[in-house]
């Protein structure tokens, strides 16, 4: 099968997956008394009862659930993603979502970079020093990474790098938020750091970076564990291979043997993992964003959950799920370029 055929096949499957997801979430979010009436966000003080009824008719809120679902799909396809009550009243859901998405993107990128920067070396070290002290140390760090409660770690970081540092009058990191200087530079990309750079405002950029450090680190510390583990396993596997013996017998230096011959093979699974993590983060790291009051989609979706705002939740799950599925696909396609042996 050709590569493009494979991709097309996956894309078609994706559509069905997304359908299933929205069906489940739709049922959960709309099917229960405790869910709010989806028409609410559409209503504003000037509206008459007739107008409200009209809205109900248009979006099929007066229909039974399984019919509402098809109304909803129709609206989605027509690009009408509904109105959300979360965070700001009477706003098109997509506007709200994509106004907060950049923050999540910024956070995810930073976290992923950190993850790779820390996790990769750790994994390699612990593979090379297999069952020696460095191995045990880095393995324990990794294990701690994925055993740590996200909010607790965030809190410890805040306590140390915000509270105690500021207590002693030392330069300290901000405890929460994405920027301490709202509205100083015009919003172009929506990502504080990038905007700061584009506006050439050094102070703003540094401030944004300072806000970014803690949440990014606490996220990366968690995903780092998994990366370290998989890199280590991969390296151990590869180092057992015969071609490493040959490379050594050629008299190559250890550096070349490891970084040219071993790493490239060991990296393949790591790439999958990193890709998946990035996708998951793009879905919004709810708890971390909640603890650090980071205005990303994760935090709003949390608010949406608490407010029972089905319109937002539906779009949110749909988009993030799509991101995850597509990320899967991209990773699989990446294989072809990473590993010459694989063909679709």
């Amino acid at each position: 099968m050709k590569l493009y055929e494979y991709i097309i096949r996956r894309l078609i499957l994706m559509i069905f997956v997304l359908l299933g997801i929205s069906l489940i979430v739709f049922y959960l979010a709309r099917g229960f008394p405790s869910g709010i009436d989806p028409v609410t966000p559409y209503i504003h003080s000037k509206m008459t009862a007739e107008q409200i009824e009209m809205v109900r008719k248009i979006h099929g809120f007066d229909q039974p659930l399984y019919i509402q679902f098809f109304y909803w799909i129709r609206d989605i396809l027509q690009g009408d993603w509904g109105i959300t009550g979360t965070w700001a009243n009477s706003r098109p859901t997509n506007v709200v979502f994509f106004s907060h998405f950049p923050y999540t993107v910024e956070l995810s990128v930073a976290a992923t970079i950190l993850t790779v920067a820390i996790g990769l070396p750790l994994g390699i070290i612990s593979a090379l020093k297999n069952n020696k002290l460095p191995d045990h140390v880095s393995r324990i760090i990794a294990l701690a990474g994925y055993s740590v409660p996200a909010y607790w770690f965030g809190f410890v970081l805040q306590l140390v790098f915000f509270y105690y540092l500021s207590l002693w009058g030392l330069p300290h990191l901000p405890s929460s938020g994405a920027s301490g200087m709202e509205g100083v530079v015009s919003c172009i990309t929506g990502m504080p750091v990038l905007d700061g750079i584009l506006a050439g405002n050094l102070g703003y950029t540094l401030d944004a970076l300072a806000h970014l450090i803690l949440p990014a680190f606490s996220l990366s510390f968690i995903s780092m564990g998994f990366l370290t583990r998989i890199v280590r396993a991969g390296m151990l596997e590869v180092l057992r291979q015969d071609y490493i013996t040959l490379a050594r017998s050629k008299g190559l230096t250890e550096r070349v043997v490891i970084y040219r011959h071993a790493l490239k093979n060991a990296l393949i699974p790591a790439v999958t993992l990193t890709g998946m993590f990035f996708a998951l983060l793009l879905g919004g790291a709810m708890i971390t964003e909640y603890v650090f009051a980071w205005p990303g989609v994760g935090q709003i979706s949390l608010r949406a959950v608490f407010q029972g705002d089905s319109n937002f939740l539906l779009v949110y799950t749909l988009v993030t799920a799509a991101i995850i599925v597509i990320a899967n696909l991209i990773v699989d396609v990446l294989y072809v370029f990473l590993d010459p042996r694989i063909k679709y």
């Binding site: 071609y243 013996t245 490379a247 017998s249 050629k250 040219r260």
Partner: protein, 364 residues
């Protein structure tokens, strides 16, 4: 036949492996000496420690292996006393090896070019001078010229300034040459390909080329013919023979196939259970083999003259290395064994001119 100078000498080499299941005594007291420009065939059943010997000489034993005792003298220096870095340098330009299964021994995700070029890149000094030489004399340096020493640049003079691009060019062209040398068709294409895109023979040649590229003085060929079918075997062996005339190297030809050894080797050392039991020139060993194990091996060779005769097989099996038989490891399977054999291990001693045997009961 006058004494030749010894280039590699292994004395009483004991190597043990530690595994979850216990201690494996892979080598116990291997005695071996390789003369300059000769081919020594190392013969034995699989699992008798041939490859381990090779790896020990290369200094590539896995972590769980330990050298208990012994010495390996190469040009008068003990390899076992050398640091890892020294061993690396040695591998880089003195001792080269070719292994048996070319599929697993070539890196699947790197192109042949990468894997071949990096070998030349080990000695950029040489490349630089080659580039300079080209600039001065015009024309083009082929790998043969380096081998035959037609181009006198093998000296330790300071390396001249040459751009990286040129060095790469040089290395590339050398790769092409060397692939031609091992009789690979269309080298440029091969260089762009990956291991899995090549046939078994080609992989084997590629590996030989890599070994060759260092113009080594000791050349360890570990079962190079097992993984490939008979026709390719022939080609490869011819290639080896051809190369032998070109490069001034002594070869340690490790094989379980007596006929291969017979065709190629000047001398043959027979190994059994981690010991060398008999060493003699090829002709000698075929005419008059003294060790009972050797004679059994001989019987196991099909005879073209009277094929009707059914082949002998060696009773018993290769000894378990975890707790090997005491004394002479062959005695459980030996027809002429005495009580003494079960007690103490026979030393390899010279019984005839250039013919050594490790057995108590050989009648000379």
């Amino acid at each position: 036949m006058k004494e030749k100078e010894v280039i590699l000498e292994v004395k009483d080499l004991k190597v043990f492996f530690h595994t979850y299941r216990g201690k494996v005594e892979a080598l116990n007291g291997v005695e071996l000496s390789l003369y300059k420009r000769e081919v020594l065939g190392l013969v034995g059943e699989s699992g008798c420690g041939k490859s381990v010997t090779a790896l020990t000489i290369l200094g590539l034993l896995p972590e769980n292996a330990y050298v208990i005792s012994g010495t390996i003298f190469f040009r008068g220096e003990d390899l076992l006393k050398k640091s890892r870095e020294e061993m690396r340098l040695l591998r880089a330009d003195e001792i080269a090896a070719v292994f048996q299964d070319p599929m697993t021994y070539l890196n699947p995700v790197l192109t042949m070019e990468t894997q071949l070029k990096e070998v030349f890149m080990l000695d950029t000094n040489l490349l630089r001078k080659a580039v300079v030489w080209q600039k001065n004399h015009g024309g083009k340096i082929a790998f043969d010229d380096l081998l035959s020493g037609k181009v006198k640049i093998r000296d330790k003079s300071t390396n001249p300034k040459v751009s990286k691009g040129e060095i790469n060019e040089m290395a590339k062209s050398l790769c092409v040459d060397i692939l031609r040398l091992v009789r690979m068709p269309d080298p440029e294409r091969i260089l762009r390909q990956y291991a899995f895109e090549l046939s078994g023979g080609m992989r084997q040649r590629a590996m030989i080329a890599m070994a060759l590229a260092r113009t080594p003085s000791v050349f360890i060929a570990d079962e190079i013919t097992t993984a490939v079918d008979v026709t390719i075997q022939a080609q490869i062996l011819n290639l080896m023979r051809g190369l032998r005339d070109k490069i001034d190297a002594s070869t340690l030809l490790i094989t379980h196939d007596l006929s291969v050894a017979a065709e190629n080797a000047d001398r043959i050392a027979v190994m059994y259970g981690g010991n060398v039991v008999e060493v003699a020139p090829t002709v000698e060993i075929f005419k008059n083999h003294l060790h009972p194990y050797t004679s059994m091996l001989m019987k196991a060779i099909p005879d073209v003259k009277n094929p009707s005769e059914r082949l002998e097989f060696i009773p018993g099996t290769v000894p378990e290395m975890i707790n090997p038989p005491s004394g002479c490891r062959f005695h459980p399977r030996c027809s002429i064994a005495t009580d003494k054999c079960a007690v103490e291990k026979p030393e390899l001693k010279r019984v005839l001119k250039n013919h050594e045997v490790a057995c108590y009961n050989v009648a000379v």
